[in-house]
């Protein structure tokens, strides 16, 4: 009974804080979805890969933080450093993604696969999964709220389960993104999506560098 209450709480927390998660993932998700071709199934596949990897990111971070006892008590300076590194990585992946989308959709855009990123053919991974994994590390307020509650639980397994239910709650809010599959695609839409990605990547890059610089950039 206690477990039902706790996981119900996780689900509810996820449901109510979902809009904040949706807003914080929007800058990454919307342009990358727009670089894919039109169609519900394709977007469902993209979103599944993105959310699956995001869950993996959540759990990896939660488990690591639990192990080192820093899930809640992480110092602001350390948190800033971590966030800075994640933002720089995210920016690099977004730029790479925008470049890869050009390679695939440059002329006819007839590829049936999701946009992959990587250096060689056999080492390529779905861009959606990499982006999802990195956004899973984002220490947004709902994530921290879930972390605080999970830290009060007795074991790492319970904490991870709490995060899974929390994740399911937030994921409901991502379903409307499949609707982007309805938007007709042409070269102009793809170009705008890639330009948007580049702009957002530049913003994350700047933000990441500023966070890594910490006191020197912000003066506190």
């Amino acid at each position: 009974m206690v477990a039902v209450v706790i996981f119900g709480e996780a689900l509810t927390l996820g449901l109510v804080s979902g809009p904040a998660c949706m807003a914080s993932c929007g800058p990454v998700l919307v342009p990358s979805l727009l670089t894919e071709q039109t169609g519900f199934r394709r977007h469902l596949r993209f979103l599944s890969a993105f959310l699956g990897a995001r869950l993996l990111g959540y759990l990896a971070f939660a488990a690591a933080a639990w192990e080192i006892g820093a899930l809640v008590s992480m110092r602001p300076a350390s948190r800033m450093l971590l966030m800075g590194a994640v933002n720089v990585l995210l920016a690099c992946v977004l730029l790479w993604y925008a470049y890869s989308a050009r390679q695939i959709c440059g002329s006819s855009c007839s590829s049936a696969k999701l946009v992959n990123i990587g250096t060689t053919k056999d080492r390529r991974v779905a861009g959606a999964a990499v982006l999802g994994f990195l956004t899973g590390f984002s220490l947004c307020p709902p994530f921290v709220a879930a972390g605080v509650r999970a830290a009060e639980l007795g074991s790492v397994t319970q904490a991870l389960l709490f995060f899974i239910f929390f994740f399911v709650g937030t994921s409901v809010w991502f379903v409307p993104f499949i609707g982007i599959g309805c938007i007709a695609r042409n070269q102009a839409v793809l170009t705008v999506a890639r330009m948007t990605m580049t702009l957002i990547a530049l913003y994350y890059l700047f933000l990441g560098i500023a966070m890594l610089m910490g006191r020197k950039a912000y003066g506190f």
């Binding site: 800058p27 330009m195 003066g219």
Partner: protein
């Protein structure tokens, strides 16, 4: 293709008579007096002079539009004056109210910044999802003020579409003035893909505004912060913000217009312009290319300050979605093939009447918004001269 001999000119070939032009100008003269003079309010002589000069200026320009049958050059006089006088009055008021052009973050949070229409597209999604305005303007204090400003903008936009960008925007005039300086463009070949950048800026800024819960464009990318109110730099991030504003202003508003003779900030960057373009789909006024007259000479394409004509669009007899109805192509076309048009009518159906109907609406808006700004700028100059 019809020869010129059997296709009569659509716009008045010879200037209208002075009397007829005066009669057509009368409604605008009355409107200017109503908008610019406020009887009963205590104002000094400098204000009265500024208001009188502005009313004469706006009415005179409209008269010239009626008399000559040309639109672009007279509209440009108003628009450039608006662009250059806006910062004069704005900075003066800013320094009077705050003692500096810089705005500290506390002032922003307290909502003591003036309302700016550029933030409108950034407000919509956060407001719809959270019922909160992320723009830190003084207008946020009053729901009625928001309703009035946004309502006015919406009403005018529905009628004029992207005409807002050529008759009301107080930012575009500086670059239009710069674009008018050189006789010939140094850069002539411009990749058409640059036209898509404003859409990308719009999408990126809407998404970032939602994610960061702040008006991302105003905080990071607005070139006009360089001549209005900059961020008070208290750390390296603030310095970078101001550096971005200055670089964008220098590049897009000064240097590139001089090199290309185009409104480059509007054409290649402004997210509000992209947003306004959507309303061209609704507005009843548009500019069309009459294919029976067009010789595909490309004069209109070169004349367009906004790159809103392409070979493909001309072949289809249309302007692109980004057309701001400034009239440059209509005035430049040697065949009178570029015409003002009201949707739902035949293409050659009384284009001069369509022009008149559009201009009355557009100039009324110009007097209402731009006129008061010009008067404020003139007042400031008179104040310093006296």
């Amino acid at each position: 293709m019809a020869s010129k001999a059997c296709t009569p000119r659509l716009a008045p070939a010879t200037p209208r008579s002075v009397l007829r032009a005066l009669l057509l100008t009368l409604p605008i003269a009355v409107w200017s007096l109503l908008m610019l003079f406020h009887p009963g309010t205590p104002t000094d002589a400098k204000s009265r002079i500024a208001e009188a000069v502005t009313a004469l200026f706006m009415t005179g320009l409209f008269f010239m539009m009626m008399r000559t049958g040309k639109t672009y050059r007279w509209r440009r006089c108003f628009f450039v004056a608006l662009g250059f006088l806006f910062p004069v009055g704005f900075i003066y008021n800013m320094v009077l109210a705050r003692g500096t052009m810089g705005i500290p973050i506390e002032e922003m949070i307290a909502g003591r910044t003036p309302f700016c229409f550029l933030a409108i597209p950034l407000l919509i999604v956060p407001a719809a999802l959270t019922k909160t305005l992320v723009f830190p303007g003084s207008i946020a204090a009053s729901r009625h003020a928001i309703a009035t400003m946004v309502g006015l903008w919406l009403a005018l936009t529905l009628v004029l579409g992207k005409g807002w960008c050529a008759y009301a925007c107080f930012f575009g005039g500086i670059e239009e003035g710069m674009a008018a300086v050189p006789k010939r463009a140094k850069i002539r070949k411009i990749d058409p893909r640059w036209r898509l950048v404003p859409w990308a800026v719009l999408l990126a800024m809407v998404l970032l505004s939602l994610a960061l819960f702040e008006p991302a464009y105003c905080m990071w990318l607005c070139p006009f912060k360089a001549v209005t109110e900059y961020v008070t730099a208290r750390n390296a991030v603030g310095v970078v913000q101001n550096a971005i504003f200055i670089v964008l202003f220098a590049g897009l508003v000064i240097v590139l217009p001089l090199l290309t003779k185009k409104r480059t900030q509007c054409s290649f960057f402004c997210p509000f312009g992209a947003f306004q373009s959507i309303f061209n789909k609704i507005s009843i006024f548009e500019v069309k290319i009459d294919r029976t007259r067009c010789k595909s000479c490309g004069v209109c394409q070169n004349a367009c300050p906004n790159l809103s004509l392409s070979k493909e669009s001309i072949a289809q007899g249309e302007t692109l979605l980004s057309c701001m109805k400034c009239g440059a192509c209509v005035d430049a076309c040697p065949q009178d093939a570029a015409v003002w048009h009201i949707k739902g009518t035949e293409i050659a159906w009384k284009p001069e009447r369509a022009r008149l109907m559009f201009l009355y609406a557009a100039w009324a808006m110009a007097v209402m918004f731009g006129g008061s700004i010009i008067a404020q700028g003139l007042f400031t100059i008179l104040h310093f001269l006296a």
